[in-house]
């Protein structure tokens, strides 16, 4: 099995493979933020901080223990979620811009913490040993990405997901409906950060080197751009958004020095012509059913 997977991965052009893995990791990260910002409507500018907590936790687990990689990722996710819940408890009382600034500040603190944390080599960064698994990393990343898609789709259509959407639409009305808004916001924040942590763990083991500066404000904004571009609150949107934005800088490489200029212009045009995101307000299931000539089931 492992041999077959290895030869499968080996048959793909390494450059393409790199892009594919970047996309896979971006999907996990964007779906996590989609739960927090897209579904629950809590604007977070600190998603990369949770990614870095995950990356360093996962790297340290690999260095210090012999846990197999899936257990490593599970531990990493839970640790990140606990940190998020602890942080979310006080800051999720805030809303909108205030919350955004607060998460931004938290992300800076996390960065400075790792820049000065002896066990993770301070600003030198950490070299991450190979993951303890026989499955090649690219396959691993995509399995996790697909699991993440299934998880978030499931959450979105659950009772829990409906409560999150109600909080996004109107928190006071949600309160009046008997929804425990404080608890649900913390749970959503923890779930999104759980996924950010796992994304960080994958990132660390795929790149095999991590540096606190990789997880700055710009990284958080990148992830937010993926979610907004795809369409807030839409799972297919987050997948498309992260695929486009994670691969665009590479596919635009032929333009050499104009690359980032075009990338920026692309963002501006998309937001002007699709302000709700590529798939914002689009019911993908319905479209697919129409495409194969069946009427969507009425409620």
């Amino acid at each position: 099995m492992a041999d077959f997977l290895n030869s499968l991965v080996g048959s793909v052009d390494p450059y393409m493979l790199q892009i594919l893995v970047n996309v896979g990791i971006a999907i996990v990260l964007a779906l996590g933020l989609n739960v927090i910002t897209g579904l629950t409507g809590q604007l977070s500018l600190g998603h990369a901080a949770f990614m870095s907590i995950g990356a360093f936790t996962s790297a340290m687990v690999t260095i210090k223990t012999g846990l197999p990689f899936f257990a490593n990722l599970a531990v990493t996710g839970v640790v990140t979620a606990i940190v998020a819940a602890a942080i979310g408890f006080p800051i999720l009382r805030l809303t909108g811009d205030y919350l955004a600034i607060c998460t931004l500040g938290f992300a800076e603190i996390v960065k400075v913490f790792f820049l000065n944390f002896e066990p993770t080599n301070k600003a030198l960064g950490l070299t991450v040993p190979q993951a303890k698994t026989s499955i090649p990393m690219p396959i691993y990343v995509w399995v996790v990405a697909i699991l993440a898609i299934i998880l978030v789709t499931f959450v979105q259509n659950s009772r829990f997901g409906r409560a999150l959407k109600a909080i996004r639409e109107d928190e006071i009305a949600a309160d009046a409906m008997g929804i425990n808004t404080a608890r649900y916001k913390i749970q959503a924040f923890a779930l999104g950060s759980f996924m950010a942590g796992i994304g960080g763990g994958l990132y660390a083991h795929f790149l095999s080197y991590i540096n606190p500066s990789d997880f700055g404000f710009l990284k958080s904004v990148d992830i937010l751009a993926m979610v907004v571009l795809g369409g807030l609150g839409s799972v297919p949107g987050a997948v498309i958004g992260s695929s486009v934005l994670a691969s665009a800088p590479e596919f635009l490489r032929f333009m050499s020095q104009y690359r980032m200029l075009v990338y920026g212009a692309l963002l501006v045009f998309l937001m002007v012509f699709r302000p709700n995101g590529l798939l914002g307000g689009v019911n993908v299931t319905e479209l697919l059913l129409r495409a194969i000539g069946r009427k969507p089931a009425g409620k």
Binding site: R162, K165, D170, A173, A176
Partner: protein, 233 residues
């Protein structure tokens, strides 16, 4: 049924309510009337504990609910139709009604929804539309339907006439009387004192955070002071 005793609420340094006391008996329609900023909405939000009180006590069916979190209060059977309707804009009419039944786990939610659609036929016609595409009157009906989905024993209505055409206001008030007749006790907050006093059994008049007058709705409606201050005479 509900007893509010000496409740005070502050917004920072501003005293929004001072020693407010009133009570609601089973089966009544009680109106709270008063000008802008008198503290009418604050009272409703304090009963639901969306806004915490600094002093006083609120008892509901002999149970102290002063410090209970909002979601627990909904479970006890107190449901609020917030000011300005506050429907979930991007959710469909059907989903809005489902959210109203969020605290319920029994299997009669479906049949209750049918009853709502019978009471508000317009909602049935528009059940798959996003709530934001509804007119003001329809949104008010949706907000009321949504609150009824939790099977409240006590319904708190905040300015149901706000921004509605006179004809719609009459229709909404008609429905409020019907809801009351089918066994739900109602606390009605209104600026439209005329309408409120015409359907209420009893009423309280609030002025800058204090209860200044109370009594039978008919008597208050003929009280010269009330007529002068709130009924435009």
């Amino acid at each position: 049924m509900l007893k509010v005793e000496n409740v005070s609420v502050n917004y920072g340094a501003i005293k929004a309510l001072q020693n407010v006391s009133f009570q609601i008996n089973q089966g009544e329609i009680v109106a709270l009337i008063g000008a802008n900023g008198a503290g009418k909405t604050t009272i409703l939000n304090t009963i639901s504990n969306i806004v915490p009180s600094v002093a006083g006590k609120i008892t509901y069916l002999d149970k102290d609910i002063t410090k209970l979190p909002p979601h627990e209060i909904v479970k006890l059977g107190i449901s609020q139709v917030p000011e300005g309707r506050r429907v979930f804009a991007k959710m469909s009419v059907l989903e809005n009604l489902e959210m109203g039944a969020y605290t319920r786990s029994d299997n009669e939610v479906g049949s209750d929804m049918e009853k709502i659609f019978q009471r508000f036929p317009r909602l049935n016609e528009r059940k798959k539309q996003p709530a934001k595409t509804l007119s003001g009157g329809e949104q008010q009906m949706l907000a009321m339907g949504r609150a009824l989905m939790s099977r409240p024993k006590l319904l708190l209505l905040d300015e149901p006439s706000m921004g509605l055409a006179p004809m719609l206001v009459e229709q909404i008030f008609q429905i409020i009387q019907e809801i009351n007749a089918s066994g739900t006790t109602i606390l009605l907050v209104e600026q439209n004192a005329n309408m409120a006093l015409s359907i209420a059994h009893r009423a309280y008049v609030l002025e800058t955070g204090e209860v200044v007058l109370q009594g039978d709705a008919k008597e208050l409606a003929s009280n010269p002071e009330v007529r002068k201050a709130y009924l435009g005479e």
